[in-house]
Amino acid sequence: MTCEKITYLIEKGYLTRLNISVKLQVKLHTYYCTCCTNYPKDSIFINKMLAQLDENEGTLSFTAQEKEELKKNLIDLNPTN
């Protein structure tokens, strides 16, 4: 099996259950392949980072001035005022 196929199976394994013979094939391949030994380390790291993206309470914010302008524009449009 090629690295393309093995990395596909590694990713698939994070999404669904792999059967035992497929797991074994992945394991055998990683015995002699450095790329595919390294790949899941990076991949799990990226999954963790992706899952945290929305949780990082904001690296970006509107400036105080932008917020005031935004508020002013919205007041003019507000039908309940």
Partner: protein, 185 residues
């Protein structure tokens, strides 16, 4: 006394503008456009205020409006699609092996990550931005919002095996992109 149906848009801005801004930027990787979309979200919300039934919170409602705007933006981008590159040899004796210069070196996993490593998050956001449009929504729904696979497949009208293929190709690209941005920048 404040009337029940009186809308305090100043409070919307104070409470939600920044978190909506970040949410949009992660998904479209363009801070100016993200700001515009947040402003549009508030305006759309005001216009549709009679349809808001207080069944969900204002926050949930605003996010759902913003999300629709983001999807519209992705759709507009879709016309500019390019074919994603492969990171594997397409033929020869090394067929299916990683292309030279794209071998996973396992270095990313060794980066010291505090919970909030903003620089790394920014790099990842840029890499998500470079994904083909078709994959982007799928990657965000599955791996950022961590929805069930079945739900993602239904929403995007794809099969489970389509999902596995897309996630694999997207992850290979993200891994390569992040490694290059982090170690070669």
């Amino acid at each position: 006394m404040e009337q029940q149906n009186e809308i305090n848009t100043g409070e919307w801005v104070d409470l939600y503008a920044d978190s909506l801004f970040n949410y949009a930027n992660i998904r479209i990787n363009d801070a100016d456009l993200a700001k515009d979309l947040v402003q549009d979200t508030f305006i759309s919300a005001l216009k549709a205020i009679d349809k808001f039934e207080h069944k969900s919170s204002v926050k949930t409602w605003l996010y759902s409006i913003l999300k629709r705007k983001i999807i519209d933006h992705w759709r507009k981008q879709e016309s500019r699609k390019t074919n994603p590159m492969s990171y594997f040899n397409q033929d020869g004796v090394k067929k299916g092996g990683f292309l030279d210069g794209h071998n996973p070196q396992g270095k990313l996993a060794e980066v010291e990550v505090e919970i909030e490593n903003n620089e790394l998050s920014d790099a990842l956001t840029k890499c998500i931005g470079a994904l083909p449009v078709k994959w982007k929504g799928i990657v965000i729904d599955k791996l950022v919002e961590e929805k069930e696979s079945e739900e993602v497949c239904n929403e995007h009208a794809i099969s489970a095996s389509n999902l596995w293929v897309i996630i694999h190709r997207a992850k290979v690209q993200l891994r390569d992109c992040l490694e290059k941005k982090w170690f070669e920048a």
